[in-house]
């Protein structure tokens, strides 16, 4: 799975399951909390949803460092394409 495919899939999940406006997901530097309004409860569910979708395990320490869309894509890409 390429990074582009991961980006596309992650954005699809964020739009469909977390009901974010697709237009708000176009800029990779977008901050999850400050700009997309996602909170700590959403963060837990995003991690679980991504783990299920991509068949990987995101470590808690890693998850805590994710602040932007780009960091989320990178985290999954690193696990899928080590």
């Amino acid at each position: 799975m390429t990074r582009e495919e991961i980006v596309e899939e992650v954005n699809k999940i964020l739009a469909e399951q977390f009901e974010l406006n697709p237009a708000s997901l176009k800029e990779p530097g977008t901050k999850l909390h400050e700009e997309l309004g996602l909170d700590s409860l959403d963060a837990v569910d995003i991690v679980v949803t991504m783990e299920k979708k991509f068949g990987c395990r995101i470590q808690e320490a890693e998850a805590r460092e994710i602040r932007t869309l780009d960091q989320l894509y990178d985290c999954i890409n690193k696990l899928k394409n080590p």
């Binding site: 309004g37 409860l41 569910d45 949803t49």
Partner: protein, 406 residues
């Protein structure tokens, strides 16, 4: 003691999600019960009838609030929001600390519980569970979620007593306002239809089995051919308000809460006690300072079970004789369990306002063990001034509410 009035209503039911459609359904004998084909896959189940709520959009609640809601909380929150709007309560007032919530249900969302335990058992752990799962299934999911969505900062309670949940929720709100602890309470309850609920009643032989091919013919409260209840879902919320405050702001007043009693049989977990029912109704009259002859209509709990309907008929006969008109709304909507106390109280209030009394749908031949009371078998053009609404639950928990004008 403060006097307490009803200034707003909101509901979702198998016969409609607003006052106009509910009144039309009650007037025209429209049943909300349908065949539940998908339940036929459930091994051992014999009851395949239920009442479903449709025609509402969960997305009217923003995702941020809705993410922790199963259907039971979505319905409760919509009913609460509609009731608050109907009463003309401003969002700022709900955040003032002077308004509270009392909303109950039998359990949290049964579908979400089923999903959780399926995964838990299948995977042998909690690895793939969402953080929002628990908030959908916790006992106070309806009250907590409605409070978050509406920004309510007063006291929030969630009575869970199955079929008496929302009647007790109203009673609790009534007491809090009477004693001056809150000015306004959003009170009621909800229930989410699920095959396991039908199973719960079917196991104890209390669910209707003989009308799977003619679902609108069941339940049949008080009828000679009744064979049990039909489980349903719904949500109902009424705004209770300190009468002085309501009058001062010229709020529309549907009715006054005149009396309330809840008591327990303290005998058997499942068998209804006719003496317990009688005591509850009698004490509710005493609490209102009324005599049996002051009541113009009784909305019975009667679910269509053999024992419950007969016991309630006996209690009504002992206290009221054969004069006061009696009907059960469950012929129309089935047993909405956690919602029924408030939903049927709202039906009663609407019938008072509209000047009619709905009969018990499907009551064709009064059963001998339910005889001796004035069963309504046809709609009656009666403008009732005072109504008594009963709710009786597993655990021998009884609740009777009286609404009307003094």
């Amino acid at each position: 003691m403060n006097r307490v009035v009803v200034t707003g209503i909101g509901m979702l039911s198998p016969i409609g999600n607003d006052a106009a459609s509910v009144v039309e359904g009650l007037k025209n004998g429209r049943s909300g019960i349908k065949a539940m084909e998908e339940w036929k896959a459930m091994k051992g189940l014999n009851s395949f009838v239920g009442g479903e709520v449709t025609g509402f959009d969960p997305k009217r609640i923003p995702r941020h609030a809705r993410r922790t809601m199963g259907k039971v909380s979505v319905m409760a929150t919509i009913a609460a929001e509609d009731a608050a709007k109907d009463a003309g309560l401003a969002p700022e007032y709900l955040r003032s600390g002077r308004a509270g919530i009392s909303l109950g249900s039998t359990t949290g969302s049964p579908k979400c519980m089923s999903d959780f335990f399926s995964e838990f058992t299948l995977k042998g752990g909690i690895e793939e569970q969402m953080g929002t799962s628990f908030m959908k299934v916790m006992g106070h999911t309806t009250a907590a979620n409605a409070a978050v969505h509406l920004g309510v900062t007063g006291c929030v309670y969630s009575p869970t007593s199955a079929c008496a949940s929302s009647a007790q929720a109203i009673g609790l709100g009534y007491d809090l306002i009477r004693h001056g602890q809150q000015e306004v309470m959003l009170c009621g309850g909800a229930e989410e239809l699920h095959v396991t609920t039908a199973g719960t009643f079917d196991i104890v032989r209390a669910a209707s089995r003989a009308y799977n091919d003619s679902p609108t013919k069941t339940p049949r409260p008080f009828d000679a051919a009744r064979d049990g209840l039909a489980v349903s879902e719904g949500a109902a919320v009424m705004v209770l308000e300190d009468r002085e405050r309501a009058l001062a702001r010229n709020a529309p007043v549907y009715a006054e809460v005149l009396g309330y009693t809840t008591c327990c049989d303290g005998e058997h977990i499942a068998m209804p006690s006719r003496e317990g029912m009688l005591r509850c109704m009698r004490e509710s009259l005493l609490s209102a300072g009324l005599q049996p002859g002051d009541i113009d209509y009784i909305n019975a709990h009667a679910t269509g079970t053999q024992l419950g309907d007969a016991a309630e008929s006996w209690g009504i006969r002992e206290l009221f004789g054969a004069k006061v008109p009696v009907s059960s709304s469950k012929g129309h909507v089935g047993h909405t369990i956690g919602a029924c106390g408030c939903l049927e109280a709202i039906f009663s209030i609407l019938m008072m306002r509209e000047g009619f009394l709905a009969p018990t749908l499907n009551l064709e031949k009064v059963s001998e063990d339910c005889a001796g009371v004035n069963h309504l078998q046809q709609p009656a053009a009666v403008r009732a001034r005072r109504v008594l609404s009963n709710s009786f639950a597993f655990g021998g928990i009884n609740a009777s509410l009286i609404f009307g004008t003094r």
